[in-house]
């Protein structure tokens, strides 16, 4: 074996495990050692339990030895700390859920552990998945492996940093407005948000239920396809999970992209996009053209409504979802209180972070009194208008290519960015959630500051296969996705 274990793809690790060149215990131990060496620099993991993880690896070895293994059995996985787990705490990176142990496993956890993928640990995130820099965590900020003075993006920043530093072979994330794709772009990894309904949300702590979706964060598109095969599928515990058949996402991934029509929306390449990012994306477009894709200019003219729409709908759902955290049934409860109002208000006030409180207040504000009729209904109409834009676009093209982010990763504690400016940086990702579409972010190069640049591929609902095929084609021709920082070698 030439490559060290942590540089190997899921496919390579799977081959090594199935052919018994390595055991799951060896593989898992090697990752736990890397976590021990590098996690302090990144703060990617918030909870690890070697005993539990190694017991799961041992069980996976037995399964493989008995010939009952799945293709991913024995490969350890990091989980965003938003997924409920019974044997490790589930905190959503909030003081509100400090030491909270769920009474059941999320479906994503059941499915991955069910095929024998040991859990490496729980990964840091922006509190309750609200943020774009992973600076809103009660357990401290996460650093970007490429430059530790920069953020890894958010909210799945811990997952992105762990995969980018090769202290997890892959990880789970969630995406409500770009929380998988933006950190994937900022750290130079691959991250896919599948169609809304593809993956069960059962046991995934809700932020904005009509927009939240889980997905894999991996080194490559092929790895993402392998994980999607396990994570997707209808779940009787989530009535919004789709009953549409789940294909084998790896089956057609090597097919040619000759003749595939890729739309470039003019509105995504105007002012606001960093010229260096633009340049790298243009290079990627040229490569895809060389591989036979047809590039077609298109318009998504209602992009301008994306931010007000998202920042009305998401906080309104957030305020409703987070109302359950009142100190009664679980979570933080303020001590020494004499009445129920104090208990509610002080428990929430003293355990939620600033960004969570801000979004709860925006949501309560926008859904109160006549504001609700005036703004919420308008936002719902805008959501339909944005969906219609995409519907029209997909009658002309198969896939849409855009930048994932307006720039490379922000500097840590970038005081120059107000919350509104930070929200505006989500402009390229939020429409995908509003329309419920699948989208993938892949690394397409590095800017002069040494930070990765990401491109986003969007397809029609339940057509993840085509964006995976294009991403895999691109990654077969380039090596951006195989690079990781020298600091972690």
């Amino acid at each position: 074996m030439n490559k060290p274990l942590h540089e190997q793809s899921l496919k390579e690790l799977s081959d090594a495990l199935q052919s018994k060149q390595i055991s799951s215990t060896e593989l898992t131990e090697s990752y736990l050692n890397r976590i021990e060496s590098y996690n302090d620099a990144l703060n990617a993991y918030t909870h690890i339990n070697k005993e539990i993880t190694l017991a799961q690896a041992k069980a996976a070895d037995k399964t493989i030895a008995n010939g009952n293994g799945h293709i991913l059995t024995g490969i350890p996985l990091g989980h965003k700390d938003i997924f409920c787990t019974t044997n490790m705490p589930t905190t959503c990176s909030s003081k509100m859920l400090e030491n909270f142990h769920a009474t059941y496993n999320a479906t994503v956890i059941e499915r991955t552990q069910g095929i024998g993928m040991p859990t490496l640990g729980k990964l840091n995130m922006d509190e309750f998945a609200m943020g774009s820099a992973n600076e809103n965590s009660a357990w401290g900020r996460v650093a970007n492996p490429w430059n530790q003075n920069h953020c890894p993006g958010g909210s799945s920043g811990g997952s992105a940093a762990a995969v980018a530093a090769r202290i997890a072979p892959a990880a789970t994330g969630t995406d409500t407005g770009g929380s998988i794709r933006q950190p994937a772009a900022f750290t130079g990894i691959t991250g896919i948000k599948p169609t809304y309904g593809r993956i069960s949300r059962y046991g995934m702590i809700a932020f904005a239920s009509s927009l939240d979706q889980a997905g894999p964060m991996t080194q490559s598109a092929y790895d993402a396809a392998m994980l999607l095969n396990t994570m997707c599928g209808q779940d009787p515990n989530d009535s919004t999970s789709s009953n549409i058949a789940v294909p084998d996402f790896t089956a057609g991934i090597n097919d040619s992209i000759e003749g595939v029509k890729i739309g470039l929306p003019e509105e995504y390449f105007l002012k606001g996009l960093d010229p260096e990012c633009d340049l790298k994306i243009q290079d990627a477009i040229k490569l895809l053209q060389k591989k036979g894709a047809k590039i077609i200019p298109i318009h998504l003219e209602n992009l301008k409504y994306a931010i007000p729409t998202y920042y009305l709908l998401a906080p309104i759902e957030c305020a409703s979802n987070l109302a359950r955290f009142d100190g009664v049934h679980y979570g933080y409860r303020e001590e020494n209180i004499s009445n129920i109002t104090d208990m509610y208000e002080l428990s929430r006030e003293n355990s939620f972070g600033d960004e969570v409180k801000r979004r709860i207040l925006i949501g309560t504000f926008a859904s109160s009194g006549s504001y609700s009729a005036e703004y919420y209904q308008k936002a719902l109409q805008a959501k339909s208008v944005i969906r219609n834009d995409y519907r029209k676009a997909f009658s002309e093209v198969d896939v849409i290519l855009t930048p994932t982010t307006t720039s490379t990763a922000f500097e840590t504690a970038n005081k120059a960015l107000t919350p509104q400016e930070m929200y505006l940086s989500d402009i390229y990702t939020v429409t995908v959630n509003l329309a419920g579409l699948p989208a993938i972010s892949i690394p397409v190069g590095f800017a002069k500051n040494g930070l990765p640049v990401g491109a986003q591929l969007i397809s029609n609902r339940f057509c993840e296969d085509i964006i995976l095929r294009i991403a895999h084609c691109f990654q077969s021709e380039t090596g951006w996705h195989t690079q990781y920082s020298d600091d972690f070698k």
């Binding site: 009953n243 207040l361 009194g369 006549s370």
Partner: protein, 108 residues
Amino acid sequence: MSKLNTQDQQICEEIVTQIATLAKLRLTNEESEIYQAYFTELLTLFHELDTLDISYDLISDNTLLNADDCREDMPSTIDLSGIKNASPHFNEKTRYFDVPQFIEYDDE
């Protein structure tokens, strides 16, 4: 909620306090001032939707393709064994969650 109306482009302290009460959050005076300015700014952002053209028919996009596809509705026994881990306030004796008394009696 008559005080909350969309014509108010300037958010007053009273509205912020009212919103915080609804959200079960307690704001300091300083925070309250920040949110006054913040909400006023947000209204400008929300008003960007005023130019939205909804004159044409919108096709509703039904996300729920399987709305009738619910799991079987079967009574089941709830396993309470893990709840003690989830909440230190669960009272095994009463099988309720303990909270401060919220009804005050005359003789107290």
